[in-house]
Symmetry: C2
Subunit: 434 residues, 2 copies
């Protein structure tokens, strides 16, 4: 745990801005299992299965990287909108593993389909349908370029299937969220409820991510499960919209992974009235809840950024376009000089000005206003008249730092979340593979 948990409940830190722990609840139509294939050599859980006995609608968004892992390539080929399971492994990304990696994944898929078919046949409530490999989705995270240990994984699948739990209490969720961790120091979980028509809808989500977190996701995995009944095409359109201002608004180090994936599964067990239109007002509450849950998970990822000691919110307002606001925000959030200044608790706003200047946007220097917390630090191309170094030094000690940049050019805005850049980041990443 790199963030000081004591301070999580210090009111001056406004921790509600940094994501919150919530107790996750059971989602009807979902069953979970996690075991160890001993990929780390220390017996920790490293494989996790999300099983839908009666299948589930789903939607997913993937990394924008041109170098994608075997599992992302697999998922992209699944054209159907109804799946039976999602399998996740950590330690090995199965990326840049060529034909061997693709072959290994297929071996795992065959074994998993077979085991689930047997389970399904035995299940008194299940569909008894054969599970095909095209019913399966995969997520992997870990080291890139190392051989995919498919034999070790395959051998543990019978045990994984055997251990499937039909009910999720908070411990089952915690175990699953822990099984998908890599350099994460804590699991990320979020829960929301909403209504579709008169039906109560539950949404439980988990995520992992700590480094290589950049816009357009990162080595970031997000799995969201709901009992709502929503067609997959509508799920996709809502998910894309929600991700744009949640999972895609965070950055730890500007690096983007080969394995990013955020997906949502809707089992339909809540039996809400049928949705015929993505603009159906009945979906508004659901979209809002999904946004809250996604932002919560995204913030938990940033707060757990490798070596992070500070959570940083950068609000860019007054831009001519959302794109301009986004570019300026990420230019600040990804600047190593800015991030190290925050680590040093130094209100060096000159580096914010520098990062705004280098963003490549047509900003007008003398119109810029920069705030750190509630303190105006710069305006009219100069330090503000009310600048008080002592107050700012005090503010910089907080765990959660807010930066506001007003470009004074228009009315568009965008918020980026990031963390500081500390010695621990270097230590974690200097020899990550060992």
């Amino acid at each position: 745990m790199t963030l000081n948990l004591k301070n999580f409940f210090n009111p001056k830190n406004k921790m509600s801005k940094m994501g919150e722990y919530q107790e996750l609840k059971h989602i009807n139509g979902l069953e979970i299992s996690s075991v160890s294939a001993d990929l780390y050599g220390d017996g920790r859980d490293d494989m996790c299965l999300f099983y839908f006995p009666d299948g589930s609608n789903f939607a997913a968004v993937y990394t924008t990287s041109k170098v994608t892992s075997a599992n992302i390539n697999w998922n992209l080929k699944i054209k159907r909108h109804f799946v039976r399971a999602l399998f996740v492994n950590t330690k090995n990304a199965n990326a840049f593993t060529g034909r061997k990696g693709a072959h290994g994944l297929k071996e795992v898929a065959n074994t998993l389909a077979k085991s689930l078919t047997i389970k399904s046949a035995q299940d008194p409530k299940g569909t008894k349908d054969t599970v095909k490999i095209t019913d399966l989705l995969f997520a992997s995270t870990g080291v890139i370029g190392e051989e995919y240990p498919y034999v070790k994984i395959k051998n543990r699948i019978p045990e994984l299937v055997k251990k499937i739990k039909a009910e999720q209490n908070k411990f089952v969720w915690f175990k699953a969220a822990t099984a998908i961790m890599t350099t994460d120091t804590r699991p990320k979980l979020a829960y929301e409820e909403c209504k579709i028509g008169n039906k109560l809808i539950k949404i439980s989500g988990i995520a992992k991510g700590s480094g290589m977190i950049a816009p357009n996701m990162a080595t970031m995995l997000g799995f969201i499960f709901t009992d709502a009944s929503i067609p997959s095409v509508f799920l996709k359109s809502i998910l894309k919209k929600v991700v744009a201002t949640t999972f895609n608004s965070i950055t730890v180090d500007g690096d983007t992974s080969t394995n990013d994936m955020v997906s949502i599964f809707a089992t339909g067990k809540a039996n809400n009235s049928k949705i015929y239109n993505v603009l159906d007002p009945k979906l508004q509450d659901f979209e809002k809840a999904l946004h809250t849950l996604s932002l919560n998970l995204a913030k938990q990822i940033v707060a757990d950024g490798e070596g992070a000691k500070k959570f940083i919110t950068i609000n860019v307002i007054g831009a001519s376009s959302v794109n301009m606001a986004k570019n300026v925000g990420f230019s600040i959030a990804n600047s190593p000089l800015f991030k190290t200044a925050i680590a040093g608790e130094d209100p060096n706003w000159g580096r914010i000005a520098m990062a705004i200047g280098k963003a490549g946007e047509n900003i007008v220097a003398h119109k810029l206003k920069i705030k750190i917390g509630d303190f105006l630090v710069a305006e009219e191309s100069s330090v503000s008249k009310t600048y008080n170094e002592k107050d700012l030094r005090e503010y910089m000690k907080w765990d959660s730092i807010k930066i506001e940049v007003n470009l004074n050019l228009g009315s568009s805005l965008y918020t980026v979340y990031t963390c500081d850049f500390t010695n621990d980041y270097i230590d974690i990443n200097a020899d990550y593979r060992n």
Copy 2:
């Protein structure tokens, strides 16, 4: 000194690739002075004057940042192609200092013009022309947003002018190159000779830069002086071409400064035959020498990157365009995950693949070939058959690391130079202002 100097002469480190020290020589028509205005509070030299008694042709390229310092704004307004002096101060960037910063700079300019006019009148060899403030160029580097200490600077100008030395030996150059340093751990100097027609031409150059070094320069100052006689418009066109593959091909942290400036001054004292055309074959040798000198200075800057322990050369070949090669090269060079792996002497080529993938270029994963040193590490979307972790671990201990990425899409190429990312970078930048 962060780089191990012992290893500079270790042949396995191929140090010639990292820039070399050279003894700089006197340039006719140039006089130099450097003194302390005690801006650092420890008496080190922090102001430096380059004076041309008979004036000099010149050309300069500046930062692409939209937030520019007072001195850059000043220089951009100088429309003439003939100047009398360049004044440099460190410690304070005079950036984001508004009207007060511009006013302070003008005060300094007035004082300097007056002092130089008096000197000129007394000089038996000089032109005795009045020096006007529009004959002066300025460079500043240091903290952004702090009040420009123009009174301290002004007060020391008479002493600075009094100490002007008409002749430069290597010690004068060393003193000047040291006066312009900020977080640099050593001065950067380079020297080349060439011929224009039958005349020997001398070129002496100094530079500063250590952090905030990114393409399109950085807090990077480069001052190059030659006795060649070349019209300023031709100087400009040659300088721009040379900078594109030298000063603009380096990065320490991806950050770009408000104060970048590379300039060349040609005093004309070599009396070479008049140049009427920038494509004159007589200029080829000069352009080549200027390129060698600029690349040498640029490499010295990277080798002295804040906290750097490794010098990294990234050759991107087989690209469809130079732009593609450049984007891929900088995507690797600016990746914190790649840079920390190099710091940890970890041949984690998966991070190179990751950084190539996120560059936003249309690369084809299975065509990629990645080499570390002379070792092929990845091809056909997979680890290479000849991959040998032991050999690579040994190679990673070297001071100078070479990466080659073959995109196998075309014949364009670009080379980027950078350094690793260490704990020292964080320490240097966490509280830079104190």
